[in-house]
Amino acid sequence: MTHEEDRQGGGGAGAHAIDRLQAWLDGEVPPAEAERLLAHCAGCAACGRALAEAERLLGALDRDAAALNEERAGQPSLWPAVRARTTASAHRRLGPWMALTASTAAAAGLLIGVLLGPREGAWGSVGQASAEFSDDWSDVGSLVADGSISTLDRIYLEEAEEGGEAP
């Protein structure tokens, strides 16, 4: 049965074959329908041509996507920049007073940890936890030192202009 006959007959896979070609190639039609489409395209010149064209076009898109991957392979990860911004964002959420309180607590914890020295037990854990906390702040300190915070301020101002968070 040809495409036109199928169309005029108003039934079978052919009536909508061209309309569903793309979904079929994308693996988005049920298996039974895929079989009907395949059988139709084998016997219908118009749908066979449309299928070949669609496959070529998908091939071109996939080659472009693959080439982008190759180009991407030589580029640095986004992670360091994302990490710097999310660390600074956590700092910003604390606010200046909380930051001062947290810094004071960290310093006090560190002092206790040093005074207690290598002894095991709950106070030793406090000392260790405080040291880890102060490491986090040294990250923020390095951002301030290298001027990243002022750059972030600009970014946040731009965000505020753009509107709310998504989604």
Binding site: D19, R20, L21, Q22, A23, D26, E28, E53, A54, R56, L57, L58, G59, A60, L61, D62, R63, D64, A65, A67, L68, N69, E70, E71, R72, G74, S77, L78, W79, A81, V82, R83, R85, T86, S89, A90, E162, G163, E165, A166, P167
Partner: protein, 176 residues
């Protein structure tokens, strides 16, 4: 995502490492500009981190991620004031493959440039649907969630978009 929502840095690092390439591919073809795509990809992950506490596990992660990326891309396009594609500039991009012969590479690049420009000429939603499918690897259901439309709506967007691409390439005399 649950770990990221609790501020687990390692969980966020894994998400960035796993998803940065498809997000970059999608944004580069949405915007037509590599550096801008990199900026917005970075911004996508920062916003993902901030929005993580609001993430519902029932929602598909890819839909969530690409919705953020898509919103940012559309915002940037609006900010440009001109909803036009930035034409491909070979001097702004590195060659994909240095191993092939020069003429073959040029031909391949010309074909890619034609595809890119044809994509850029599509209506925005058709382009976004095609890019989410071919460059982001999303299913039709995920695209429907990302774009806030139905499954038949996605199928129609992609079908019409591909038809538009085919017509445009044919008009340019380019065989894909």
């Amino acid at each position: 995502m649950a770990l990221t929502a609790r501020g687990d840095e390692e969980a966020l690092r894994l998400l960035v490492e796993r998803w940065q390439t498809p997000v970059l591919r999608f944004l580069e073809r949405m915007l037509g500009e590599r550096e801008e795509a990199r900026d917005l990809a970075q911004e996508t992950f920062v916003r993902l981190y901030r929005a993580a506490p609001r993430y519902r596990p029932r929602e598909r992660f890819r839909s969530w991620l690409f919705r953020i990326a898509g919103n940012l891309a559309r915002g940037r396009l609006r900010r440009r004031k001109v909803l036009r594609w930035v034409p491909f500039d070979p001097f702004r991009h590195d060659p994909a493959d240095g191993a092939g012969r020069a003429d073959e590479r040029l031909e391949r690049e010309a074909s890619r440039a034609a595809v890119r420009d044809a994509l850029g000429g599509l209506p925005e939603r058709q382009r976004e649907a095609i890019l989410l499918r071919r460059y982001g690897g999303l299913s039709y259901r995920e695209i429907a969630e990302t774009l806030g439309t139905t499954l038949p709506g996605v199928e129609s967007l992609i079908q019409r978009g591909m038809e538009g691409l085919r017509r445009e390439l044919s008009r340019r005399g380019v065989e894909p």
